[in-house]
């Protein structure tokens, strides 16, 4: 151990930090972080879009009920929701949700709540004149929304989506609370075994998170730009 130069600790544990025990065991480390983030990004985009559209079209009591639910989801810490889904659902409702799914479920719900408001704001941002013009040409409400309003609104929403996805990537580190072996958790495992290199290990994990978040920002902006030009 003494002869081990402090950065060798990363080299020696690299496969474990990058993909866990895979292919002999479950996926872990950075790869699981990517899976968790991608899964909840996709889920929250679909759910957020649907809920945002509902916010724009619903009126009265149903709209207030939806607003209340979204407010609730935005007000509770992600950590709490993960904890509830994992530990309280089995106790209260006898539903057993495995760790990976409870994290994805919690992140999807909370991100969708944030995105719903962004989608709603995007739809509202399109001038009323466009609705009227489209309806006057004989399009139905649904066609107007799908063919005229959303394509423009989604472009405006792109930065909000990218923002939310970057937050999502970082929030996957909260999965440690229920023992899901993503990057932050496997880093802690190695740190606990070697005991004296927490700075090196967590600095390395920090660099990986930074690279991942920057990658998403870059890719997201590129996609948004191409979509804008087309």
């Amino acid at each position: 151990m003494d002869a081990l130069s402090s950065w060798d600790v990363i080299k020696n544990n690299l496969p474990w930090l990058l993909w866990g025990a895979w292919p002999d065991g479950p996926l872990g480390g950075l790869a699981l972080t990517v899976v968790l983030a991608a899964g909840s990004a996709l889920g929250s985009a679909v759910l957020g879009l649907a809920l945002g559209i509902l916010l724009a079209v619903l009126r009265g009591v149903p709209r207030h009920a939806l607003l209340g639910t979204l407010a609730f989801l935005r007000a509770i810490p992600v950590l709490m929701l993960i904890f509830w889904v994992y530990f309280l659902l089995p106790i209260c409702l006898h539903i057993d949700v495995p760790g990976v799914w409870s994290v994805m479920c919690a992140l999807t719900l909370i991100s969708a709540a944030y995105l719903a408001h962004a989608v709603y704001a995007g739809i509202e941002g399109i001038s009323k004149g466009q609705w009227e013009a489209a309806l006057a040409t004989g399009l139905t409400h649904w066609q107007t929304l799908r063919l005229v309003i959303l394509p423009q609104a989604l472009r405006m929403m792109a930065p909000s989506f990218i923002n939310q996805w970057v937050t999502l990537i970082k929030d996957t580190s909260l999965a440690y609370i229920v023992g899901v072996g993503e990057l932050a958790m496997v880093t802690a495992q190695v740190s606990n075994r070697v005991m004296i290199y927490p700075a090196q290990l967590f600095l390395f994990a920090g660099v990986l998170y930074f690279a991942l978040c920057q990658g998403v920002t870059w890719a997201g902006n590129r996609v948004a730009k191409t979509a804008w030009q087309s």
Binding site: M1, D2, N12, N13, W16, G20, A21, D24, G25, Y86, F87, L88, P90, I91, D96, Y176, I177, V178, G179, G181, M185, V186, A188, Q189, V190, S191, N192, R193, V194, M195, I196, Y197, P198, A199
Partner: protein, 272 residues
């Protein structure tokens, strides 16, 4: 009316039946023993660098229990704070995680007889901590959700307890001077001291402030399962397997040798 009453009676009659379903039978039927163990607490439970499996003294005991039940062992990683929630939510059948038996915990879960014991001790720079009275004037680092934290607060209310998520952070704080001492099981501190590159600057003062008896955590009310565990543990001591397991992690050839002062069936740690 009569049918609703009957249904209600039937429902209330069924609830105790469900609650009384025996976990020992469930485990045998499932063919799997689900155990929570530490993933970052060497040498009790930690991820092996080569095999990427959770190994350690606790896991060895869990393995022996699974072997005698004739079932497969499935390990779920845990941190100190999740041990009781994992049992309560039926995510695991047993907890083998350096689990100190306390009256407080015994209100919500059951314990087997202790299979390991150690005292709560301190690690500090040489000369800073000579006797227990000095603890009151120090900043002491402890791991969150452990009995160390509770004992320290109760016995030395004026000591400044600084909580850490993990032992490496507490250790880093000690080495940087953020805290003057850290507290842990003596058995674990010996291993930590052994891992330090500048170990000659540190010491484990020769006193302990509590005796920690560690048992298997069992869901509340599973008396048959507890009885099976106790029989198994006593038998492991009798056949010498307990000694073999101990020597694997604390024996003379290990990195942190420690004399064995507690055997399964003892009430307390023996005087050296």
């Amino acid at each position: 009316m009569k049918t609703t009453l009957l249904a209600a009676l039937l429902a209330t009659a069924l609830i105790p039946a469900i609650a009384m379903a025996d976990r020992l039978d469930d485990i045998k039927k499932a063919g799997v023993l689900r155990v929570a163990a530490f993933d970052g607490n060497p040498p009790f439970g930690f991820v092996d660098e080569k095999t990427h499996k959770i190994v350690g003294l606790d896991v060895d005991y869990a393995n022996e229990v699974a072997k005698r039940l004739g079932v497969k062992l499935e390990i779920t990683p845990t941190n100190p704070a999740n041990r009781i929630p994992l049992l309560a939510a039926n995510k695991v059948d047993l907890v083998f995680a350096n689990f100190t038996i306390t009256d407080e915990r015994a209100k919500v879960i059951d314990f087997s007889v202790p299979y390991f014991a150690s005292g709560q001790q301190f690690l500090a720079k040489k000369g800073t901590l000579k006797n227990p009275q000095q603890i009151t004037s120090l900043r002491v680092g402890a791991d969150k959700g452990t009995t160390m934290e509770a004992t320290l607060r109760q016995k030395y209310p004026s000591a400044q307890v600084v909580l850490f998520d993990d032992t490496p952070f507490a250790l880093a704080a000690l080495r940087n001077g953020n805290v003057q001492a850290i507290t842990q099981d003596g058995s674990k501190l010996v291993a930590i001291l052994g891992a330090l590159p500048d170990k000659d600057k540190y010491e484990i003062p020769p006193f302990s402030i509590s005796e920690e008896l560690e048992g298997v955590g069992v869901p509340k009310g599973e008396t048959r399962l507890v009885a099976f565990l106790n029989d198994t543990l006593h038998d492991l001591e009798k056949t010498g397997s307990a000694q073999t397991i101990y020597d694997r992690w604390f024996g003379p050839t290990t990195k942190a040798p420690l004399p064995r002062l507690f055997k399964i069936g003892d009430a307390h740690i023996r005087a050296e």
